[in-house]
Subunit: 171 residues, 2 copies
C-alpha cells in the first residue's frame, strides 16, 4: 500500500483549495477590493524579506519582471511600497513596505483571518488544537527552501523573521 503519502497529498490539495476559496471570497467581498491576491502576496513577500529585490519578488509571485515592475509601480503610487536603489549595486531595487503598506497588509491579514476563524469556530477545541499542531508541521515542511547551494560566505539568508506573520498586533 504505497498510497498513504498520496492520500495525504490528495487531502491536502482538496483542503487547501477549499480554504483558498474562502479567502478569495472574503477578499472580493469588500466593495472596492483594496488588494488583489497577487498584490497581497507581494506585500507578504516584501514584509518577510524587507529589502528584497524586484526579481526575487517576481520569481516568488510567479510573474515576469516587467509585470512585477508595473505592479510595484502601482503599489508605490498608492503609497504602500518604498522602492529605492541599492547602494551596493545600483541596478538593484530594494523594496520595503511603508507604514501604510504594513498597515494594509495587517488589515488584509486580519480580514482573511477572521473569515477563517469563523469557520474554524465550528471545530471542537480538541480538534482545533490538533489542527494547529499539524499546521505548524505543515508550514515547517513547506517553508524549506528549494536546496539553494549555500555557497561560501556572505549571509546565509536563512533569516525567517516574519515581522507580521502570524500573531495578532501583539504589542
Amino acid at each position: 500500500m504505497p498510497t498513504s503519502l498520496q492520500a495525504c497529498a490528495a487531502e491536502l490539495l482538496d483542503s487547501v483549495l477549499l480554504v483558498m476559496q474562502a479567502i478569495r471570497v472574503k477578499m472580493r467581498s469588500r466593495r472596492t477590493p483594496e488588494l488583489t491576491i497577487p498584490q497581497f502576496r507581494a506585500l507578504i513577500f516584501i514584509n518577510r524579506l524587507p529589502g528584497g529585490t524586484l526579481s526575487e519578488l517576481a520569481e516568488n509571485v510567479g510573474l515576469t519582471n516587467p509585470s512585477m515592475s508595473k505592479m510595484i509601480e502601482g503599489l508605490v503610487v498608492k503609497g504602500l511600497v518604498r522602492r529605492e536603489s541599492s547602494a551596493r549595486d545600483r541596478r538593484r531595487v530594494k523594496l520595503t513596505l511603508t507604514t501604510r503598506g504594513l498597515g494594509l497588509l495587517k488589515q488584509a491579514r486580519q480580514s482573511s483571518q477572521e473569515a477563517l476563524a469563523r469557520r474554524l469556530g465550528a471545530l471542537p477545541i480538541r480538534e482545533r488544537q490538533a489542527l494547529m499542531k499539524s499546521l505548524r508541521d505543515l508550514a515547517r515542511v513547506f517553508s524549506l527552501e528549494e536546496a539553494p547551494p549555500p555557497a561560501r560566505g556572505a549571509k546565509p539568508s536563512a533569516r525567517p523573521p516574519a515581522p507580521v506573520s502570524s500573531r495578532r498586533s501583539g504589542r
Copy 2:
C-alpha cells in the same frame, strides 16, 4: 484569552498560502502550462457538480458571467468541456467534462499532488497521520455551504459526489 481561535486562523492562513504557492510553482513548471489556476478550478467545479450552470460556476470561481462564458468557450474549443442547453430551461447551459477534460483534470491533480507528496515525505509518518485527520476536519468545516435560502422545489443540490476528488485512479 480570546486568541486561540485567531491563532489557529493565522496558522491556517500562513500554511495555506505556502502550500498554494507550491502548487502554483508546480503548475507553472510545465513548458506550456496546459491549465491556468482559474481553469483548473473551473474543471474541479464542473467535475464536482456535473450539469451545473455557467452562473454557478462563475460565482464559485469569482468571475463575472461574461468572463466565465469566454473561458468556457475556450475550454469547449480545447475539447475539455461539453456545453449543452438544459432541456427544462433552455436558457440554462449545462456543463460537463469530456473524457479528455476529465483526463486532464486528473493529470493536473496528480501532478500537484506529487509535488505536495514530495514535501510531505519529510514528515514523520506519525505526524502525517495526524495531519491527515486534521485535514479531513478542515475540509468538512470549509465545505459547508453558505446557507443559501434553498427556496422551494427543484433539486436541493446537496449532492457532494466528487467523481475524481481524492483517491488515485483507484481500482
